[in-house]
C-alpha cells in the first residue's frame, strides 16, 4: 500500500516543541518546503522526552513503511543513534541537526543517513561576546546565562564566550549561571545578580535570545533596560526588534526557516534519487551551516527580508550554506 516506492514520501520534521519561536519557525520552513513539492507533511515534537521522540519516529516509520524523509533536531545527542538505526532499517532517509554523538557519522549509514548539519557554537558564541564587549567599550564586568548543561550547543557557545574573554583581558566575567534555556529562570538569576553585583554589571551574554530577552526585562524592572547591553543567539523576531530598539547588542540568526525546510529538502532529494548520498563528499555529509550575525548595523535589513515577509528560499540549492566539514576535538 504505502510502502510503494512510486508514492511521494512523507516529510517529517521532529523538533523539541512548538512552544518556542525558534522551533515554530523551523516548522514553518518545513511546511513551506513540503508545499513546494506537494508532499504530506508531519511534525513530531519530543516535549523534551527522548523516549517519546524516538517512539514517535518509529511510529512514523511503521506507518509509512519507511517511505519518508526525516529532518530532526534530536532532543539530546544520544537519541540520534537509535533514530538513525531505525531509519536505516526501515529504509527512510534522515538528516539530523545540532545534536548527535561525535562518533556517529552519516557515511557509516549509507545511504539513509544523509547528512548532519550543525552550527559551530564556538565562533558565534565568541562573535556575540565580542559584539557585547564592543558595545561596552572593551572593559567592564559581564554576567553570562548558559543553556541546559549537557546540551552540545550550550557547551560550544560557552566555549566561544570563554575564548573571547581570554582575548579581552579588560572584560571580567563576574558570574556564569545556567538558566536551562528558560525565560523565567533567566529573569530570576539576573535579578539575583543585580543585587550581588549592582553597577558592576556592564553587559549580559546569554546563550539564547529567550534568556537574553528575559534579562532585559529584569533590567527594565530595575530601570536599566537599554543601558546595559545584552546579547542573545537564535535570531528570533523579538530579539531582532530589541536590537532595533537598542536594548540588545546582537544575536545570531541560524535561520530556522532554512533549517526546517532545507533539512527536509536534502533528505527528500536523497530519497527521491536526486543525488546519492554515498557519493557526496564529507563536507556535504557533516557540515556547518551559516549563521548571520545581527547587530545594530544590519538589524533593519535582516528584519525586512526575513521577518516582515516569509523568506523565499531556493529549495534546489541544498548545499548553498554548507560552510565546511564539522570538526570534533
Amino acid at each position: 500500500r504505502r510502502g510503494n516506492a512510486a508514492d511521494m514520501p512523507t516529510l517529517v520534521n521532529s523538533i523539541r516543541s512548538l512552544s518556542n519561536p525558534y522551533h515554530a519557525t523551523w516548522n514553518a520552513g518545513g511546511a513551506a518546503f513540503a508545499k513546494s513539492v506537494g508532499a504530506e507533511y508531519v511534525t513530531l515534537v519530543t516535549e523534551g522526552n527522548s523516549e517519546k521522540g524516538i517512539a514517535d519516529i518509529k511510529a512514523i516509520l511503521a506507518k509509512t513503511g519507511g517511505n519518508c524523509a526525516i529532518n530532526i533536531d534530536p532532543n539530546d545527542a544520544p537519541d540520534a543513534r537509535p533514530i538513525v538505526e531505525a531509519c536505516k532499517e526501515a529504509g527512510a532517509y534522515v538528516v539530523t541537526q545540532w545534536n548527535k554523538p561525535v562518533d556517529l557519522h552519516p557515511w557509516d549509514y549509507n545511504p539513509n543517513y544523509v547528512a548532519h548539519i550543525s552550527f559551530s557554537g564556538v565562533p558565534y558564541g565568541k562573535a556575540m561576546a565580542e559584539a557585547l564587549f564592543k558595545s561596552m567599550g572593551g572593559k567592564g564586568g559581564i554576567v553570562a546565562l548558559g543553556g541546559i548543561e549537557s546540551n552540545v550547543p550550550a557547551i560550544e557557545r560557552k566555549a566561544g564566550l570563554e575564548q573571547a574573554l581570554k582575548e579581552n583581558p579588560g572584560i571580567q566575567l563576574l558570574d556564569f549561571q545556567v538558566a536551562n534555556w528558560s525565560d523565567t529562570e533567566a529573569l530570576e538569576k539576573t535579578n539575583a545578580w543585580l543585587t550581588q553585583f549592582g553597577d558592576k554589571i556592564g553587559g549580559i551574554w546569554a546563550a539564547n535570545d529567550g534568556m537574553g530577552l528575559a534579562a532585559i526585562e529584569a533590567l527594565r524592572a530595575d530601570g536599566r533596560a537599554g543601558k546595559v547591553p545584552v546579547t542573545g543567539i537564535d535570531g528570533i523576531k523579538l530579539a531582532v526588534e530589541a536590537i532595533q530598539k537598542g536594548e540588545m547588542a546582537g544575536t545570531v540568526a541560524w535561520d530556522p526557516f532554512w533549517q526546517g525546510g532545507m533539512g527536509l529538502a536534502i533528505a527528500f532529494d536523497a530519497k527521491t534519487g536526486v543525488f546519492d548520498p554515498a557519493k557526496e563528499s564529507k563536507d556535504h555529509r557533516e557540515f556547518y551551516g551559516t549563521g548571520v550575525v545581527i547587530t545594530g548595523e544590519n538589524a533593519q535589513a535582516y528584519y525586512d527580508t526575513n521577518i516582515k515577509s516569509e523568506p523565499t528560499l531556493d529549495w534546489k540549492d541544498i548545499w548553498g550554506r554548507a560552510s565546511g566539514q564539522i570538526q570534533y576535538n
Binding site: L44, A55, D76, P101
Partner: protein, 321 residues
C-alpha cells in the same frame, strides 16, 4: 437469595477488575481500525519495547503510591544511573549495571530515611533527593552526555538485542512485571503496603513495622528507576544527566491511569502495566492517526482524564480527592 446477590457482587467486582484492560483494548482497536498498520505484530512489538522504560519507572513508583506516598526523584535517578553506567562500563563491564542499581537502592534508602525518620512529607523528601541526584549526575558527567563505544555497547545486548524476534527489552520488562507482581501480590511487604496505604494506624497497631516497609518501598522505587536508567543507557548507548528528562509525570500518570489510587491502598502492578500501555497507545496512536500537532496535548490530556474516569475502582476508594 443472599447467595445470589453475593454472586452478583462478585461479578461486578470481576467486571471492575477488567475495566482498565478493556479501556486499553478499546483504544488499540480504535487506532487499529483507523490505521491498520498499527495492528501489525511488528508495530505492536515496537510499541511494547518503547513502553518498557516507562513501565519500569511506573512499577517502582507504584510501590510508593500504594503506601500513599509519592516519589518525584525517579527521573533524576534514572538519568544519574545512565551516567554511572556510561562512566564505569568500560572498566567494570556488567558490574556497572549492578553499581547503578545499587546506587539507586541507596538513594531510595536515603529518601526513605529522610521521609520516615525526619518526618518530611515524601513529596518534599523525594523532590529534594531528585535535586541532589541531578546535581550528582551533572558533576559526575561533567555536564555532558557520554556516548558509549562499540566495545562498551557489547555489554548492553541484553537490552538492545532480541530473542526469537522478541526484543530483549520486552523480556526484561516481563521479568520486572513478574518480580514486581510477586512482591506486590504475594509477599508480606506487598500486603503490609496495602494495609498501610488503606489504614496506617490500624497497620501500625497490628504490629506492622511501618517505617521499615516504607523505606523498603522507596528503595524499590529508586532501584527500579535506576534499572530504567540502565536500560535507557542501553537503548541510547550513552549516559546523560538529562537522559530521562520529562519521564516523571508520564510514569506517575501511568500508575493512576491504570486505576491505582493516588491516595494509596488500592492498586496493582497489572494496573500499572495496563496504564503504561494506555499512555503509550494514546501517544503513539496520535502519531499514527496524524492528529494535528497543536491538538495533541489537548487530546492527550482529555483521553487521560476519561481513561481514569473509567478505570478507577471507586468501591474501594472512600473519597475521591
Amino acid at each position: 437469595m443472599p447467595m445470589n446477590s453475593s454472586l452478583k457482587r462478585l461479578n461486578i467486582d470481576r467486571l471492575r477488575h477488567w475495566l482498565p484492560l478493556a479501556t486499553l483494548i478499546i483504544l488499540v482497536t480504535v487506532v487499529g481500525v483507523m490505521e491498520p498498520v498499527f495492528l501489525q505484530p511488528s508495530t505492536l512489538l515496537q510499541l511494547a519495547s518503547d513502553t518498557a522504560v516507562l513501565f519500569i519507572l511506573a512499577t517502582g513508583v507504584t510501590f510508593v503510591i500504594m503506601l500513599g506516598g509519592i516519589d518525584l526523584s525517579l527521573q533524576s535517578m534514572a538519568s544519574f544511573s545512565s551516567v554511572i553506567v556510561a562512566l564505569t562500563i568500560a572498566q567494570l563491564g556488567y558490574v556497572s549495571f549492578g553499581l547503578a542499581v545499587g546506587t539507586g537502592i541507596l538513594a531510595g534508602f536515603l529518601s526513605g530515611i529522610a521521609h520516615v525518620k525526619l518526618k518530611i512529607p515524601s513529596f518534599i523528601a523525594t523532590l529534594a533527593m531528585g535535586g541532589v541526584l541531578f546535581s550528582a549526575a551533572l558533576v559526575a558527567s561533567k555536564e555532558r552526555s557520554i556516548t558509549l563505544g562499540d566495545a562498551e555497547r557489547s555489554y548492553q545486548t541484553w537490552v538492545t538485542g532480541s530473542h526469537f524476534g522478541i526484543p530483549n527489552v520486552i523480556i526484561v520488562g516481563l521479568i520486572v512485571l513478574i518480580v514486581a507482581h510477586v512482591l506486590q501480590a504475594h509477599t508480606r511487604f506487598g500486603r503490609y503496603s496495602a494495609a498501610i496505604g488503606a489504614g496506617e494506624p490500624a497497620a501500625y497497631a497490628s504490629g506492622v513495622k511501618v517505617d521499615r516497609q516504607k523505606i523498603f518501598a522507596y528503595m524499590l522505587s529508586a532501584g527500579f528507576a535506576a534499572l530504567a536508567g540502565v536500560i535507557l543507557a542501553g537503548r541510547l548507548s550513552s549516559g546523560s544527566p538529562t537522559l530521562a528528562a520529562e519521564m516523571l509525570l508520564p510514569s506517575i500518570a501511568a500508575v493512576v491511569v491504570g486505576g491505582t489510587a493516588i491516595t494509596g491502598g488500592v492498586g496493582s502492578i497489572w494496573r500499572t502495566l495496563v496504564g503504561s500501555l494506555i499512555i503509550s497507545v494514546v501517544r503513539i496512536g496520535m502519531t499514527f492517526l496524524s492528529v494535528n500537532i497543536f491538538a495533541q496535548n489537548i487530546v492527550f490530556g482529555s483521553v487521560l482524564v476519561l481513561a481514569v474516569a473509567v478505570t478507577i475502582d471507586r468501591s474501594k476508594i472512600p473519597i475521591v480527592k
